[in-house]
């Protein structure tokens, strides 16, 4: 198990390198002259060149990329071209907000989507099943930012239940953004949980469990749902990318100072170090959550786990499972 985690972390490094390289190349395609855009049209060419030299823009593309990587390894993302202070200051201030929003939303999506999905599957064809599946179809089809806008309109400005913006209003300001994103994604979780549980509940081993005299609740949660977890975890991983996009949208709608809004601002300000750092952090966060998802997968499925457990330590999986439960 430990070996597996180490291996997965090691894979992250080349992946992050490739991603940053692609993003770096894309951003470098810009034909904007950073020195000129910062100093304005009146500045002398000498000053502009001097500034561009300071930014390293007079060097070839690959050199600039390797310099950036070398800095990033030491967690030095350079100085912002726009604010002239280290990029890490803004990243450190905004990263927690994005993490908080993303994790809260994933949590809400799972807490709402999974139990209702299981319920809909167990009570297949009942009115509850119809209501939930119809509602989830509507929620999954309507884009998050529409739901968010409607939410702001109703809960902030008509009912005045929660503040509409920012993190300045404490925990209350997190309610609407995380609920919106969470509920919007819970719809997909509900659909996948339902079809996945419906799939496992027809399996032979569920009949075996029933033949043992196990009560229905244990049949569903202890066996059927446990087996449904595998496809569910895969789906969770696949939805993370969209969820990250949703988080960026939420930051924009609710004016949350997070990495998403930081990227948007720094793109507008031609602030390359800031853009690179923010996108890299978003990508790293995405990969870290993917890593957790992959590890969860191995925890839940003994067949996957077995592939990464050495032959001698045969009893190790049982312990690892107990520890994670």
């Amino acid at each position: 198990m430990f070996k597996y985690i180490i291996k997965r972390i090691l894979i992250m490094i080349p992946m992050l390198l490739v991603v940053t390289f692609i993003v770096f190349s894309l951003i470098s395609m810009s034909d904007v002259d950073p020195g000129r855009s910062k100093l304005g049209p009146e500045a002398s060419q000498e000053l502009v060149d001097e500034l561009n030299h300071k930014y390293g823009m007079d060097q070839p593309f690959l050199i600039r990329y390797f310099k950036w990587v070398w800095g990033a390894i030491r967690l030095d993302f350079g100085d912002s071209w726009y604010y002239d202070h280290p990029v890490s200051v803004d990243i450190a201030a905004r990263f927690p907000n994005t993490i908080k929003l993303t994790l809260l939303s994933i949590g809400i999506a799972l807490i709402i989507g999974i139990p209702l999905g299981v319920l809909a599957a167990v009570k297949q064809y009942s009115w509850a099943d119809r209501v939930f599946t119809t509602l989830s179809m509507l929620m999954a089809a309507i884009p998050t930012f529409c739901i968010a806008t409607i939410g702001v309109l109703i809960f902030c400005w008509k009912l005045h239940w929660v503040p509409a913006t920012g993190v300045v209003n404490g925990w209350k300001s997190w309610i609407l953004p995380s609920l919106t994103l969470g509920i919007s994604y819970s719809a997909s979780f509900l659909r996948f949980t339902r079809s996945s549980v419906l799939d496992t509940i027809r399996q032979d081993y569920i009949r075996t469990v029933r033949s043992k005299g196990v009560r229905e609740r244990t049949v569903i949660w202890g066996h059927s749902f446990r087996n449904s977890l595998l496809p569910l975890i895969t789906i969770t991983g696949m939805m993370l990318g969209g969820l990250l996009g949703g988080a960026v949208i939420m930051e924009s709608v609710f004016v949350i100072p997070g990495l998403g809004t930081l990227v948007m601002n720094s793109i507008n300000q031609y602030d390359m170090p800031m853009t690179m750092a923010a996108i890299t952090m978003l990508a790293a966060m995405y990969m870290l959550i993917m890593l957790v998802v992959d590890i969860l997968y191995a925890v839940v499925d003994p067949r996957i786990r077995a592939r990464y457990t050495s032959f001698k330590k045969k009893k190790a999986p049982a312990k690892a499972e107990g520890g994670a439960a």
Binding site: D204, K212, G213, V214, R215, H223, N227, P302, A306, A318
Partner: protein, 337 residues
């Protein structure tokens, strides 16, 4: 305690299907004494598994329906007991071994936990602390080293999985053991091992056994009484001696079944398979279900081979009896057997 452990009377079961109700079981009657073992033999689709599942009330909730008859387990009507009482019977007093060991064990739970689950539900003398020893003992009984209890099903071979399946079923010393084609999915050599183990366990545990199979050889090695099933009906019933004695009278279908088995002492140059196919359960003939395939078919006595719907009421086929031996065929009267 009554001597009769399981009584089935005129049981009828239908499945809903796109082509109307599929009549899987059509009025079967038999009984099983304590400690006795019975074989239920027939082709795929004869309604054997459906019968077995209905005894434990494990038929699919939405698609299957018992439309008539009764099932009594130790004198109690299985159809009318509460869900909680039914759970106490399942796995405790009556247990089932399923056909395909590859898909019948929960893949994400250790073998220990799967056996312990049934033990903790039904054995009051056990708790979480001492269940491991019992799991180990039961595994050893089916020939698996106790040390392997912490492994997962995917780490076992097919034959070993079926042993685990059997371990789960015998864990609580059930009075009735239902085995649905327990060896069909296994290699021939493994089949023999598993069969001889089941014979031994049956002796040791004094359980009654309802063995479902299409293999007459399996039945001969383990059963006391035999029911031959065809299209949801028991066409012939008798003791092992009754059925396997070529001198005695038999239902044409039974004759056909034996004719499909290779036999070294037989003079015949080739096997004689039964021509045709089992009738469509949504479209059963009005007369004898075996009529369309029977070499002795006589429309005047056996009834129409047209579906029940077009021919009106189904023809009653008489049953000839002598002792335990029964044959459901117009060819014989009681005196002929």
């Amino acid at each position: 305690m009554s001597e009769k452990l399981l009584e089935i009377n005129g049981l009828r079961i239908e499945y809903t299907s796109e082509n109307g109700p599929a009549k899987a079981v059509n009025g079967i009657t038999f009984s099983l004494d304590r400690g006795q073992s019975m074989g239920l033999v027939g082709e795929t689709g004869a309604g054997k598994t459906t019968t077995a599942l209905s005894i434990l009330r494990l038929l699919p909730k939405y698609t299957a329906k018992v439309t008539g008859g009764e099932i009594r387990f130790d004198g109690r009507d299985v159809m009318s007991v509460s869900e909680a009482e039914m759970r106490a019977i399942r796995g405790g007093r009556a247990a089932m071994i399923f056909q395909d060991p590859m898909t019948s064990l929960d893949p994400v739970i250790t073998v220990r936990d799967q056996i312990a689950e049934v033990l903790l539900l039904h054995r009051e003398d056990l708790d979480r602390a001492n269940v491991d020893a019992e799991v180990g003992r039961i595994l050893e009984m089916v020939g698996i080293p106790a040390a392997r209890m912490h492994e997962y099903p995917h780490q076992f071979s097919g034959g070993m999985k079926q042993r685990v399946m059997i371990a789960i079923a015998i864990a609580c010393n059930p009075e009735l053991l239902i085995a649905d084609e327990p060896t069909t999915a296994l290699d021939v050599t493994i089949q023999a091992q598993v069969l001889s183990m089941m014979r031994r366990l049956k002796r040791e545990l004094h359980s009654a056994l309802l063995l479902i199979t299409h293999d007459l050889g399996v039945v001969a090695s383990i059963c006391d009484i035999i029911g031959i099933m065809y299209a949801g009906e028991i066409v012939e019933f008798g003791t092992l001696e009754d059925i396997f004695d070529p001198e005695k009278k038999h239902h044409p279908y039974t004759v056909g079944l034996f004719g499909s088995i290779p036999n070294l002492t037989m003079d015949a140059e080739r096997l004689s398979p039964i021509p045709g196919l089992m009738p469509d359960p949504t479209d059963l003939p009005a007369g004898c279900s075996f009529g369309p395939r029977c070499p002795h078919y006589d429309p005047a006595r056996c009834g129409s081979t047209d579906p029940v719907g077009s021919a009106g009421t189904p023809t009653e086929i008489p049953i000839a009896r002598k002792g335990q031996h029964q044959i459901r065929c117009v060819l014989y009267a009681d005196a002929d057997l």
